[in-house]
Amino acid sequence: MIHFMIFLPLLGSLLLLITPVRWREEVAGFFAAVTLGLGLAIWRAGGADLFSINWVPSLGITYSVALDGVSLTLALVTAFMTLIAILYASRRVANPGTMLALVLAMETGLLGIFAARDLILFYVFFEDALLPALLMLAIYGKAHRMRALVKFAAYTLFGSLLMLVSIIGIKSLGGSPTFALVDLVANPVTGPAQTWLYLGFLTAMAVKLPLWPLHAWLPDFHEQNHDSGVPDLMGTLYKVGGYGIFRFGITLFPDASEELRPILMGLAAFTALYAAWIAFRQTNWKRLLAYAGLSHMGFVALGLFSLNETAVIGSMYLLAFQNVYTGALFLAVGMLQERIGSLDTRVGGVMNQAGALGGLTMALWFASIAVPGFAGFVGEFSILLGAYQVQPWIAFVAGLTTIAAAVYALSAFQTTFWQGRPLGGVRVPDLHSTEWLVLGLPLAVALLFGVYSAPALNLIQPAVRTVLAALGGN
């Protein structure tokens, strides 16, 4: 079942190429829905256990996949948000066949990243998700997309090739027979070599988190992408750095993680605050959301690097659910752009004519700035709680971010949706048909997991405990 879940979207994406144009939306939606259904079925069955066969035996590369705990949570959120993306793309994009195919192809890469339990397999899926993201930007991007493309690809590859070298190093220096995670854990690398290898691995993950100073691709990527926000949503789902550090980083480099803890926590807290500060100055909604997302990712990183159980649980929780509301916000911005033809944050008065759009956007913004009652609060609060026990001052600095977040979020919302509608502005139609679902469903999820976090915590908590238990005592 797990293999179906991973590769069904790719199959769907290839089938889309030969599907008659008029049925493409339905077929894409069908495949996304079945994938989500398979995910839910795996969840009901209590996760998918490790499945491992040799892929390239002579090189020790295995095809090892499992979906449990954190992976399953993230995979479910990915499948859910992909369905939402397809729902919106079908309505918004004219002749959306290519985009739908790319979205589905990317979903396979993302699910594979979460399922992989072999480092080379992880790398392969990690790069697989890159190609559709690049193509979406190339086909649907705006005037200056070439710069954004080059930045995005160069940063990603810079990180991942260094990661490839350290992957080779882990097996070669540790003497593990295969690249499967279980074997690598059993044959650890020790001493200073571990720190160097961790730095190589970390570069890739820091690019994809993203973490200051490797974040510069992010705002351009979002700004130059298609107005609908669908590629931005997929890009948000692609921020898998936090997961990579959790699954492979902490497990394979326990000593280095502890050694570098204060530095990395400092970087993470700085990223969170710095991004929030910059977000305040943005006048383009996409750039604003990009920096807001970066700020969340600073939180995720802070929790992870602190190696404190509460904080790590919180950061996995935040990582999973920020996809929901940040992604939905990108789509909301897409709807705004469709109505007023601009992504500027200083339009004014949209609320008067499109009350539902304004209301739902505001609710999603509240989720994003971690107002209690939304999923974001559970995550951010646990992170700060846990990080405080490790490095109180760094946690304090990061805590300032929550104030900054309220400032950038509310000021942008105010200048766009409130204030007067400029004279002569076109009439703004309110939400209709599937747009209600596109914004409503993610909001419902964010709300549900804000007040009733048990289902997600039951998945995340044991997984985090297992990983941290290997560290010894923390």
């Binding site: 090189l59 790069e127 930007l137 190339a138 070439m146 080059v150 590859l157 070298v165 080779i168 190093g169």
Partner: protein, 482 residues
Amino acid sequence: MLQIPDVALAPMLPILIVLAGAIASTVLGFNLPRRALTIINLVMLVLSGVSMMTLWNSGATAFGGGLQADNAAILLGLTILVGSIMTLLVSLDTAYRARVSFPEFDAMLMYAITGTLLIAFSGDLIVMLIGLEIMSLSGYVLATLQASRRAEESGLKYFLLGAVGSAILIYGIAFVYGATGSLSYAGIAAKASGLTPANVGILVGGALLLLAGFAFKVALAPFHQWTPDVYSGAPTSVSLFLSTVVKVAAFAGMLRVFGGALADAPGWASVLQILTAATLIIGNTAALLQRNFKRMLAYSAVAHTGFLAMCLLGTPQAGGAALGYYLLVYTLMTAAALAVVAALQRDELGMEIDDLRGLYYRHPAYAVALAVCLASLAGLPPFAGFFGKYLAFQAAFQNGYVWISVLAALTSVAALIYYLRPGMLMFMPDRTPAREYPNGQRTPTNFAVVLGVLGVTVLGILPNIWYGWVQNPAIWQFLAGR
């Protein structure tokens, strides 16, 4: 099935079949049209491949080890044949447009292939040198064959620098012979470890001269300067041949000499790592600056020389396997990319990178194929180029050249950028008139492109199909022969 009359003939058969094709092209050229000859030659190449496969695991030798058809030779020989077949297929469509459609083209090509196979099958330095010279001389003619100033310039450059390279190589052979008193790889390998200090100096000098000579042939910096001019000046089907088959053969020679004969000799590895590093840096950064797509591919061939040379830095067992895999993948992806260029170019200058804008909306299949090749050249999974790169990194890393693998990782980022630009431009909508040759899509070229793209994809998803054959360390342990 051919009846093999003599035991010693069996290991020569693959080469003789190709030679027969060359002679047939020379003689029958008076009576038959070129297309017929090309088809005969394609059949010959396939037959040669079949006869190679019958030699698998036989370890047959001829002339007292001067020619050895061991598994390494067969694997490299098959790679050479794949590249040659793709060249012939492309030339079926484009030779006429390039004004090189006469029998001599085929004859020269087949002579060159004979030489390349001789290098792969060589068991001593003289056989290797003869093969190298046959290959190079035919290569000079091929590069000059088109009646145009650019082709003449390219051919003359190739000849002058290639002749210098050969001279240095021969000088190196003389030194090695002087130090060890042997010309056969096995003899050199046996004597290399127990030499008097005076002879060690001569051996190191000989090894370095050999390295410089080979560096000319495979285009290792700083001996690469002829490459971009020759590849971009020659007709595209010839560039395809030079950048795949000839390079594979030159690497086969290097593997034989440095992985086999001189495996235990001191000195050359530390120089090779510097050449590799220089090639990685120069090839990749120079490719970044190119505006012409064909010329960019020429620089990318230089850059790939750097990645391929990393395999030689590994132990012969790991490095040979990596090289065996990478060379086939490199041949497939480079040949397919150049085949698309050959089909779509208006003239032999190739295309400007900007001309590729919107290609996906005019020639969707070629655009996707080219994108796959570029992704594979950039080393993105799930295409085979990724595993090639991975194996090269691993070979160098495991033998202690960590800094080379880190440098290769960093220069790969530059590589990604120059592959990404054309790759992405093709998918950007465009309203200007098409700038490519409208009638380029022909069956033989399509066949070559499909072969390359399918190969790259299948070998990327299931690398074991080819790597399973090349991975056996025993193949690469006795490169010098026993």
